[in-house]
């Protein structure tokens, strides 16, 4: 489904040039659950952002199915994200001024297809067990509840790929487990997931584990089933 070939990402500031990704080659097939691990600053999030098209590589090729994403314009990429991807962040990134329900609905807002939004939002909230908090604002919820709301927002549009950036990083163990269970359930239902994590236990729950160091993939192994 995804093919990254020789992906590079360089940041240039006034005097310093930093290379966050060096010639990354990566294939992800449909239905996979990939965990990316590595120390802070190794390029995990940059890779995830690149996969999510919220950051553009400075070199290389990114094919999603048969589409060359590197060649697409900003507005096409926005449409692509809205219709194809779902994001889950470490810091949840819910919008403070919107209720949980509205935050979840935001996952459909930019898609264009108007069919039964209310039902889909309700179903997504139900799936992660957050429906009873629909009318609350993010700051009224615990971290675990906020992250589940964020997952609901990510899955409401039935994305082909879910990208999760340390989804359990800000959560306690119990809440972390809950979130991981939800992700695994989604994967079992057929969702493709790429997750960045610091937790080896959570990485082990994925089907494949990639280790990164200094902007390079140093290990790429399927979990023994």
């Amino acid at each position: 489904m995804i093919r990254l070939e020789n992906i590079q990402r360089r940041y240039v500031s006034d005097e310093v040039e930093t290379t966050a990704l060096h010639d990354i080659d990566l294939h992800v097939e449909s239905g996979e659950f990939v965990a990316i691990m590595g120390p802070s600053g190794c390029g995990k999030s940059t890779l995830l952002n690149t996969l999510g098209t919220v950051d553009r590589p400075t070199g290389g090729k990114y094919l999603f199915g048969d589409r060359d994403l590197a060649a697409m314009g900003e507005s096409d990429l926005a449409k692509f994200r809205g219709s194809t991807l779902g994001f889950v962040f470490q810091s949840f990134n819910l919008i403070d001024e919107l209720t949980i329900e509205e935050n979840v609905a935001l996952g459909l807002a930019y898609r264009g297809d108007a069919g039964d939004r209310k039902g889909r939002v309700a179903a997504a909230m139900d799936k992660v067990g957050i429906a009873h908090r629909a009318r609350h604002f993010p700051h009224q919820l615990s971290g675990g509840q906020q992250q589940r709301a964020a997952i609901a927002r990510a899955i409401v549009g039935d994305p082909k790929l879910i990208l999760a950036d340390e989804p359990t990083g800000n959560l306690d163990t119990a809440n972390g487990e809950q979130v991981m269970n939800i992700l695994m359930g989604l994967n079992a239902e057929g969702a493709t997931i790429v997750m960045v994590t610091h937790s080896p236990a959570h990485a082990d729950m994925a089907k494949r584990r990639i280790d990164m160091l200094d902007g390079r993939i140093v290990a790429n192994a399927m979990r023994a089933m």
Partner: protein, 809 residues
């Protein structure tokens, strides 16, 4: 305030240059507008306060309350002999009359005639108006009939460095007389309506036949009372006084005070008090401009509060750290208040500089001569800095000091005042833009009305018309008037010329009389009458609606030497048709009105508007006098061909040859009419400047708020883009957020502007309709300006890469 407060304020200003510029700049402009308009209001309300004992001086007003009269209202003029009768009935009355003033006399010296502000006054003048003297003595200055008191300017002009006391001055007012200079008074300041540079005692022989004619309004009478209570007590006696003395006012046997009474007006109120049926424009203008000043400052303060609270969130971490280090709420509130006062003080300084720089422009635009007197302005600004600083600083200070330290430090994000803060800011933007839109509507209506007034039909062709007022001067020998008129007509540029006792620009006389109607009881409607000589209507290019003009072939047309009981022919104006009970102009022709003084209507002329556009054209009839010299107050109106400037020159040459003893005074009709428009034009310009700046400050505020808000929402923008929002979605979101309060602002602006403009337009006889276009137009402009203001930032924000935006805090 300690060193750290100053240091952190300085660094914060330097670090956030844009924010500082917006905050201080907006406030400085607001303070400058407030300052300049404050100076204007202070100037306008300071008239006559320079006069020693000004609070003890009152002007006697004649108040007309005649049924159906066009001249009802209070006038600051009385009959000539009123003071004499008051002194007889109320011994001990202290008062003076002032007859003349603005260019009312001529000084003849070295074969040259110079128009001066001459007035005849009572010998007691200086006990009511103790003008500061530089030579002479108040008690004796006007004691002798041959004495004259002059101001320093006149003394310099006619005597140079010589001692003026004892010198001879030849002055022509109603007669040419020689006077001995007995006193020199200081030139009057600018904030006075008195035009006095030459003062002479009222001569016995200048007391006209109407001196004791109740109903005449020949001069101004001033009285002096030691206390307001004494003035009130005196005023209470005036009704009985009028009933006793003014019996000739009403021959029906009713109480004279029913149609005319007298009242006292404090001298300092005179400047802004409307005369007669005039609307209170002057007062309204002063109040309006004062309000514009206060509201502009308010908008600027709102701006400050808005930006300060918006930025408050960004300082949360600083506040939290200060709390951790031991600062309590009081200390923090004091710190932020001192910062606000200090910021406002800096803004006040810049405002003062701006005002000083802008004052020449404002003076030019408003025809004013305002100056900043630092002795008053600097302490006033210091007070303003503290008051505005505290007002503007108190909300952000309380908001900031309330942030919980632990939560702020633990969180990765900064609080922005929450939803309540957003709502307060939105309410402030609504208020601010509401005022700005109301200002815009006001300016549009003002401009439309002043334009309308200028282009309105006056009933005559105003181009190429000259008005020569020199012929009114009593120094022009009556028997020479026909030859002067003939000579004027013989000038090559002159097409036509006529003499009348009324002219464009209001020169001449205003006479009214009641015209009894046949078969109708009572004294009949009150009409204005005007004396005209041959070719009056033709010279003006007036429009005949029915009948004919006067001509010498009809003997009854000429009313010279005719007794009123013998009857005469008259031409009436269109406005007179209704009070005279005619439905059409044609119907009036040949009809006779006037009871015992029969007047037969031979023609109906379309209304000639000679006076201010604010007043209705009075119902008028015209009386014909074949010999122009028989019209005592004889204003000459001349129609010329080609450039009126050239005609004026050759007219001046002719005048100099024929009547060198009288100064030449002539203007084009347009110049004379311009005086009527000037006050409104000035108000419109000042209002426009104030409104423009208010809108500018509003936009600066909106821009600042938008920039803050965009920064605060960067992360949200990132989230939305990650979820698939396109750049145009983001722009729509951000612009829409600001559009809402701006649209809601119309709800504030429309009723406000509607009420204000309806009141202002009511002062015009011929007003433009208050079209919805003014309202919609101003709102469209406001929305466009608001969109443009926030669009740039929204576009920039929408283009930011989402990954960057997500990392942003």
């Amino acid at each position: 305030m300690n060193r750290f407060t100053l240091l952190s304020l300085y660094r914060s200003l330097v670090r956030h240059k844009l924010h500082a510029a917006l905050n201080i700049g907006g406030l400085a402009v607001g303070i400058a507008v407030f300052l300049i308009l404050g100076l204007y209001v202070r100037f306008e309300t300071s008239y006559e306060t320079w006069l020693p004992d000004h609070d003890k001086t009152y002007v006697v007003q004649t108040v007309w309350t005649m049924p159906d009269s066009p001249i009802n209202g209070a006038f600051a003029y009385t009959m000539g002999g009123l003071l004499d009768q008051m002194r007889e009935d109320f011994p001990g009355t202290v008062g003076t009359r002032i007859n003349g003033g603005d260019r009312a006399g001529t000084i003849l010296a070295d074969g040259r005639a110079t128009r001066v502000d001459a007035a005849q006054v009572d010998p007691s003048f200086f006990s009511v108006f103790p003008l500061p003297l530089v030579a002479g003595d108040h008690a004796t200055a006007l004691a002798q009939p041959g004495n004259v008191a002059i101001d320093q300017k006149t003394a310099r002009a006619f005597f140079g460095t010589r001692d003026p006391i004892g010198q001879t001055l030849v002055v022509s007012m109603d007669k040419v007389r020689s006077y001995r200079v007995s006193a020199v008074f200081r030139d009057l300041p600018k904030n006075t309506d008195f035009k006095l540079s030459v003062l002479m005692p009222i001569a016995q022989e200048s007391k006209s036949e109407n001196w004791y004619h109740w109903g005449s309004m020949a001069l101004a009478t001033y009285l002096r009372f030691d206390t307001p209570a004494a003035a009130r007590a005196f005023e209470d006696k005036l009704t009985a006084f009028v009933d006793r003395r003014g019996k000739e006012l009403d021959d029906s046997g009713d109480r004279p005070s029913k149609i005319q009474h007298l009242q006292l007006l404090p001298l300092t109120d005179l400047h802004l008090e409307p005369q007669g049926s005039d609307s209170g424009t002057a007062k309204l203008t002063v109040v309006t401009l004062g309000l514009v000043g206060v509201l502009t400052l308010l908008i600027a303060v709102v701006n400050y509060v808005n930006l300060a609270t918006a930025r408050a969130g960004l300082r949360a971490r600083e506040v939290a750290m200060r709390k951790v280090l031991g600062a309590d709420r009081g200390v923090l509130v004091r710190q932020f208040l001192s910062e606000a006062v200090l910021t406002v003080a800096i803004a006040a300084l810049f405002g003062l500089i701006l005002a000083e720089l802008g004052l020449p422009l404002v003076n030019a635009a408003g025809g004013l001569s305002l100056t900043i007197s630092y002795g008053i302005v600097v302490p006033a600004l210091a007070v303003l800095a503290v008051v505005v600083g505290v007002l503007a600083g108190v909300y952000p200070a309380i908001l900031l000091s309330r942030f919980p330290a632990a939560a702020v430090l633990a969180s990765a994000r900064s609080p922005g005042g929450g939803r309540a803060g957003t709502r307060v800011r939105e309410a402030l933007v609504i208020g601010q833009f509401g005022l700005a839109i109301a200002f815009m509507i006001g300016t549009a209506v003002l401009v439309a009305q002043t334009r309308h007034v200028r282009s309105t039909d006056l009933g005559f062709q105003r181009q190429s018309l000259l008005v020569l007022t020199s012929t009114v001067d009593p120094a022009v020998p009556t028997d020479r008037k026909p030859s002067i008129l003939t000579a004027i007509r013989a000038l090559p540029q002159v097409q036509d010329a006529t003499i009348a006792n009324a002219a464009i620009g209001g020169s001449g006389e205003a006479n009214n009389t009641n015209v009894p109607l046949p078969g109708v009881a009572g004294s009949g409607p009150s009409l204005t009458w005007v004396l005209v000589s041959p070719r009056f209507f033709e010279t003006h290019g007036a429009r005949l609606l029915a009948g004919r003009w006067f001509d010498d072939a009809h003997q009854l047309d000429d009313s010279t030497d005719r007794k009123s009981a013998d009857g005469m022919n008259i031409v009436i104006n269109r406005r007179a048709l209704t009070p005279l009970r005619f439905r059409t102009a044609q119907e009036a022709i040949g009809k006779t009105v006037g009871g015992s003084r029969p007047r037969t209507i031979i023609g109906v002329v379309d209304d000639l508007r000679f006076d201010t556009p604010r007043n209705p054209v009075p119902p008028t009839y015209y009386i014909y006098q074949r010999r122009p010299e028989t019209i005592e107050t004889s204003v000459t109106t001349i129609r010329v061909s080609g450039d009126p400037r050239t005609a004026l020159k050759s007219l001046a040459g002719l005048w100099q040859r024929m009547v060198p003893q009288v100064p030449f005074t002539a203007q084009t009709a347009d110049e004379r009419l311009a005086d009527f428009y000037e006050a409104d034009d000035r108000a419109t310009r000042l209002f426009g400047i104030g409104a423009g700046l208010a809108v500018l400050i509003g936009c600066v505020g909106l821009w600042g708020l938008a920039s803050f808000n965009t920064a605060r929402r960067t992360r949200e923008i990132g989230i939305r883009k990650t979820l698939g929002a396109s750049s145009s979605d983001i722009v729509k979101l951000l612009v829409g957020q600001f559009l809402r309060p701006v649209l809601l602002a119309n709800l504030v602006a429309w009723p406000l502007a509607f009420l204000a403009m309806r009141t202002w337009l009511a002062g015009f006889e011929d007003a433009v309709p208050l079209s919805p276009l003014f309202f919609v137009g101003a709102s469209v402009v406001a929305v466009a300006v608001a969109v443009l203001t926030v669009l740039g930032q929204s576009l920039r924000a929408s283009r930011a890469a989402p990954a960057w935006a997500l990392r942003h805090d």
